[in-house]
């Protein structure tokens, strides 16, 4: 896996200061979106995917584990939250908690099965697990098969914030995203994150230093899955539906794409990547039949010309870590 992150620069205090500045700029930009005339639903959706991609990036960019089944966390949390809101009638905050917890639990179970596998085998076993889950969701009555769970009530968060108001919903999603992002950022730059990087770099050596590497990978996996689930729960309020597309392998593929387009192992790359891909889906929709071709060309160009991803290339040019 090392070739993926060959360009990672060592993190120095100055880098951390840079990153905090970029973060502040990003938060400020996002905060003023509703006043710019940009369509907030688009941004909300992109934010959910951005958080998802960041969670995924935590696992691959810093843990060296490429999960090809991350859609299962998104979808599971989505279904559970949707069901909780619609059928159990839970308030939004509890809906989010239940959904995220379901993703965490799923992380625990699937992590237990997959974490000991290496490299491509890890990717494939996560893919297999997510396909099994897809099958279960296709068959289970509560998901309503390919029709999905529709018309989910948004409700009032903490009984105060009316989520059916786009502006309120926007800020709730934004706060959720920023919180998730900060948690990921902190994890990366924590003592735990340091060990994770060491394991990614040279696992046998880490073992010989006395680290039980499986436990570290497991924690990273569960954290990543939980945050991906959190993104899935938030998304339910934005899309107001939960459907099979969220558990399909092509969604897992899209997560990988977002992260790669933005820059694997960079802090802000996944955010940028998610916005680019979502924007592409939205704006290319007008190109009709050529949409897949254009997407294909963009991916090819990304790999051949901007291998480090958009943010990765930028960081490389500036000799900064972003």
């Amino acid at each position: 896996m090392s070739a993926l992150t060959d360009d990672t620069l060592p993190v120095t205090p100055r880098a951390m200061r840079d990153e905090m500045i970029v973060f502040a700029v990003m938060a400020a930009l996002l905060a003023v979106v509703p006043f710019t005339g940009i369509y907030p639903f688009f941004v909300m959706q992109a934010l959910c995917f951005a958080l998802l991609a960041c969670a995924f990036n935590l696992l691959i960019g810093y843990g060296g584990l490429l999960s090809f089944g991350h859609a299962m966390f998104l979808g599971t949390a989505g279904y559970v939250t949707a069901h909780a809101l619609k059928v159990w009638g839970l308030p939004p905050e509890l809906g989010i908690v239940v959904g995220t917890a379901a993703a965490a639990l799923l992380g625990l179970v699937t992590g237990f099965i997959s974490i000991r596998r290496q490299g491509i085998y890890f990717s494939m076993i996560t893919l297999a697990l997510s396909q099994l889950l897809y099958f279960i969701y296709l068959q289970a009555p509560f998901t309503h098969g390919e029709d999905g769970i529709q018309g989910i009530p948004q409700g009032r968060l903490f009984g105060i914030f009316d989520l059916s108001k786009p502006l309120v919903l926007y800020y709730v999603v934004l706060v959720g995203f920023l919180a998730g992002f900060l948690l990921i950022y902190r994890t990366i730059n924590s003592p735990f994150g340091e060990v994770l990087k060491a394991i990614r770099e040279n696992e046998p050596r880490a073992i010989s230093l006395g680290y039980k590497t499986d436990q570290y990978k497991m924690l990273a996996y569960i954290l990543s899955g939980t945050l991906a689930g959190f993104a899935g729960s938030l998304k339910v309020f934005v899309a107001q539906n939960a459907s099979l597309t969220d558990v399909h392998w092509s969604m897992s593929g899209e997560i990988v794409l977002m992260t790669l387009v933005g820059g694997l192992g960079t802090i802000f790359g996944p955010v940028v990547g998610a916005f680019v891909i979502i924007a592409m889906q939205q704006y290319l929709a007008g190109f009709g039949q050529w949409v897949t071709v254009i997407q294909g060309v963009i991916f090819v160009a990304c790999v051949l010309l901007f291998r480090r991803g958009l943010v990765g290339e930028l960081a490389h040019m500036l000799r900064r870590s972003l």
């Binding site: 090392s2 992150t5 003592p191 340091e194 230093l209 006395g210 039980k212």
Partner: protein, 251 residues
């Protein structure tokens, strides 16, 4: 007295599909000594190390460390008991700086490694000790260099510094001098000599002058079995050792 030997094996055997890489080895390493393991290529020295540090499962035999049976213990636990190894092919964390390499080891020693909610600035308290260790192996100027960019010999030194950071009771060094220039060899030899006051060292080395100068006792392994044991002066007169390992012109 059990305490005299920090590490003891009996009947240690490793078989690879009918091929005995290590066979019935009884090894006793005295606390505080520098013990060398030598032998021709393919004699089973690295395999022995792998068995002792649990990177391989023995086919037979027993390993006792500080009086405790560790034959069935997982590798990370063995390391936690203070039995730490270096690798024959140099093992560093390539994209971490030298300082970070050492710090990862210090961090393990002092806990808090699962704290994903704390800032890594808490690790700064390990910096002084890390610098000290780098200084010991002559790497001060490389502290902020990523390990990939360091010359080969320096990587070996870094690996030793990392191992020392764990403050192990016993170190297993697999060809610590391989690929090093003379200056470095002398430096590392002096270092090993210095730390041996505190730690027990078991090492594999083909550089005879190093072996001769450093080791208190030497075990010669051939074809997976112990051929002889003794100090350098005695062994260099042993015909069997000459034939199997030293070759003509030594002694």
């Amino acid at each position: 007295m059990a305490d005299e030997f920090i590490l003891e094996t009996s009947g240690l055997t490793k078989e690879f599909a009918g091929f005995f890489a290590v066979r019935d080895v009884a090894l006793k390493v005295r606390r505080g000594s520098i013990h060398a393991l030598i032998g021709p290529n393919g004699a089973g020295k690295t395999t022995c190390f792998n068995l002792l540090t649990k990177f391989l499962k023995p086919t037979g035999g027993q390993i006792r460390y500080k009086g405790q049976d560790i034959t069935a213990m997982p590798p990370a636990d063995v390391a936690r008991l203070g039995l730490v190894r270096s690798f024959q092919i140099s093992a560093v964390f390539p994209h971490l700086t030298a300082l970070e390499n050492v710090r990862v080891a210090l961090q393990r020693q002092h806990g808090s490694s699962f704290d994903f909610w704390r800032s890594k600035t808490v690790l700064d308290r390990f910096n002084p000790r890390a610098h000290e260790l780098l200084n010991d192996v002559g790497l001060s100027e490389f502290a902020n260099t990523p390990a990939v960019e360091m010359p080969y010999g320096r990587k070996r030194a870094l690996e030793i510094a990392t191992t020392l950071a764990l403050d192990p009771e016993m170190m297993l060094l697999d060809e610590p001098m391989a690929g090093m220039g003379h200056e470095d060899i002398d430096k590392i030899a002096a270092l090993i000599k210095r730390i041996s006051a505190k730690y027990t060292i078991l090492m594999v080395e083909h550089n005879l002058s190093v072996v001769a100068n450093l080791s208190d006792i030497i075990t010669v392994l051939t074809r997976g079995q112990v051929l002889a044991e003794g100090n350098y002066a005695d062994l260099s007169k042993d015909e069997r050792v000459k034939e199997a390992y030293l070759g003509a012109g030594h002694g």
